[in-house]
């Protein structure tokens, strides 16, 4: 059933006055607002009642009564599904070509595995344990290393626009890390190198805290440190 009640709060950023938030109808969905998100993880359903906290119990009761949305095609309870990798694949996708994006992703992970295995077999005995061969671990650690801690936001005061250091939410940090990675791999490469090769290279560099993306993160941090004086302009 259709529903026209998905609202978004649109704050008007005019400092130094506090903005009255206005609700505008922005998006609607084919599901009615009472539908809840599906939970695919099998372990969630196998937990006995005693281990749950108050909130989880309330959630369970609510779920037993409300209708649930259908699980989208990207969601499955498979052990191989990784939400971070799905998000990254979607960001790499162009014009809805999920097949291509997914194949590039698998090729990248394969390339990382091959490079690490080469290093592993060439390394002396005592260093073999320090080399990480699992491409998923490398992917996660690399993106974690690329995440900025603090960001800058443009605030206009007295006619001038200042770059004010601002704390970032987790979602925003992850998004920025992934966005930087993808733009870096699309732009700064030789015409003939393919995306999986360049991506695997960048991910391995980021895993070791080197490379252009880590540099970009450090530059952002230094800018934020330099603009410390304007930190009090932030009102949220």
């Amino acid at each position: 059933s259709t529903s026209l009640s998905r609202h978004a709060v649109c704050p008007r950023l005019q400092p130094p006055f506090s903005c009255p938030s206005r609700l505008m109808q922005v998006r609607w969905s084919r599901y009615s607002p009472s539908f809840l998100e599906p939970e695919v993880n099998k372990e969630f359903y196998q937990k006995p009642l005693e281990e749950l906290t108050e909130e989880e119990r309330e959630q369970r009761e609510l779920k037993a009564v409300r209708p649930i949305k259908a699980a989208p095609p990207t969601l499955s309870s498979s052990v191989f599904r990784d939400p971070m990798i799905s998000k990254f694949t979607n960001m790499m996708m162009k014009d809805g070509n999920k097949v291509l994006a997914r194949s590039l992703m698998t090729q990248t992970l394969e390339a990382i595995k091959r490079k690490q295995l080469e290093k592993y077999h060439k390394a002396p005995e005592n260093e073999k344990e320090t080399i990480e061969c699992n491409p998923y671990v490398i992917f996660h650690q690399a993106l974690k290393n690329c995440q900025p801690i603090i960001g800058l936001s443009n605030i206009t005061k007295g006619g001038k626009t200042y770059q004010v250091p601002v704390p970032l939410k987790d979602n925003r940090k992850r998004f920025l890390a992934m966005k930087w990675m993808i733009t870096e791999c699309r732009e700064n490469k030789h015409r003939r190198t393919l995306m999986p090769e360049k991506l695997s290279q960048e991910l391995l560099l980021a895993f070791n805290n080197e490379g252009p993306i880590i540099k970009k993160k450090h530059v952002l941090h230094k800018m934020a440190e330099a603009n410390r004086a304007y930190a009090h302009f932030r009102w949220w």
């Binding site: 059933s1 084919r30 009761e61 259908a70 095609p73 309870s77």
Partner: protein, 349 residues
């Protein structure tokens, strides 16, 4: 001008809020008398007792006497009590000397603001009661309100209650205030007041009948399911004591679905229930694209698996989103725009 009976579709615009009375009290009274008289006449015509003639009987009688083939139920002839047809109107808000009755008349939204004031007073009294309990070191009662069984009034329902137009902002403010009131531990004293603004949600959806297992000639148990997704429709027959083979339109799934994502979707219900190597499946699918066909087969398999599995697991499947029909379809293209959402390129001149 004779006032004609309007249909409920027209009344959905909040006529009550659109200004002073269009129908006078005397008129409504006359309509009610006419309705009652007409009810008795109708009962006599149908040969039934006029005293015990209910609204359902009236509807049946009208459908019998004036058969109509119109599709829109609200366009057919109907005979309802005038209070249902003529919505409640706001009476004139000022006396003969021109002085308004309500002290908040000049705010423009008198009912809304008086409601907000009342609710806030309840909030303050609940807080005072809480302070008293704390001062006397008594335990604060916290009977949990059942979140799942009730919902707040919608904006339209609130407008009908107050007979006044509300804006989205006003409505959200009011709901926030109510939520704040409910969150207090001592909100039990205001329970009656809160119940005026909450409605019962029909708790359990229709219990779906799970078909029992059928058995074919070899004695193997099987079950069928149907699924649809975005123009694709599929039927799946899931056999017991199998090796995990899946056939779609006569071909193996490896040939029919070369993409890994589609195969993941097909195996999703089996993987969720830990029954991967235990069932054989034969599916037929038509229509839609590759992802839609995969989604349709997934739904069909999940529905077929319900017969093999306990009720608790069926509930888990429902909460994982396996048994819901995905209502998302392609949005139509609108005139004046290039696509469903994309507008034409804006040119300054």
């Amino acid at each position: 001008l004779r006032l004609i009976h309007t249909s409920t579709a027209v009344q959905r615009k909040n006529v009550g809020a659109s200004g002073p009375e269009k129908y006078t009290e005397a008129f409504i009274k006359k309509q009610i008398e006419e309705f009652n008289l007409g009810k008795r006449h109708l009962a006599n015509m149908m040969g039934e007792d006029p005293e015990t003639f209910t609204q359902e009987d009236i509807d049946r009688a009208i459908a019998y006497l004036f058969p109509s083939g119109l599709f829109d139920k609200q366009a057919r002839p109907m005979m309802k009590h005038p209070t249902e047809i003529f919505p409640e109107q706001r009476k004139i808000q000022w006396g003969e000397d021109g002085r308004p009755f309500h002290f908040l008349f000049y705010t423009g939204k008198q009912s809304y603001y008086s409601l907000m004031h009342e609710t806030y007073e309840k909030l303050l009294s609940a807080q005072k009661y809480q302070d008293q309990l704390i001062a006397q070191d008594l335990p604060l009662q916290k009977e949990k309100r059942n979140l799942a069984g009730s919902r707040w009034l919608t904006k339209i329902e609130l407008e009908e209650m107050l007979l006044e137009k509300l804006s989205d902002n006003d409505y959200s403010r009011f709901i926030q205030l109510l939520q704040k009131l409910v969150a207090l531990p001592c909100s039990d004293i205001e329970e009656k007041y809160i119940q005026k603004f909450s409605k019962e949600v029909p708790v359990q959806m229709q219990k779906v009948l799970i078909e029992p297992l059928q058995h074919d000639e070899r004695g193997v148990a099987f079950s069928t399911g149907e699924g649809r997704r975005k123009t694709a429709s599929a039927t799946a027959i899931v056999y017991d004591n199998g090796t995990g083979k899946m056939t779609v339109n006569g071909k193996d799934i490896l040939h029919y679905f070369p993409v890994l994502q589609d195969r993941e979707q097909l195996l999703f219900p089996f993987q969720f229930l830990d029954r991967i190597g235990k069932h054989d499946t034969v599916c037929t699918v038509s229509g839609g694209g590759r992802s839609a066909q995969a989604g349709a087969i997934r739904l069909a398999c999940a529905k077929a698996l319900r017969s093999f599995v306990t009720e608790k697991e069926v509930e888990f499947m429902r909460q994982a989103g396996l048994l819901t029909v995905d209502p998302r379809v392609k949005e139509r293209k609108k005139p004046g725009q290039e696509g469903a959402r994309r507008k034409f390129t804006w040119k300054k001149r």
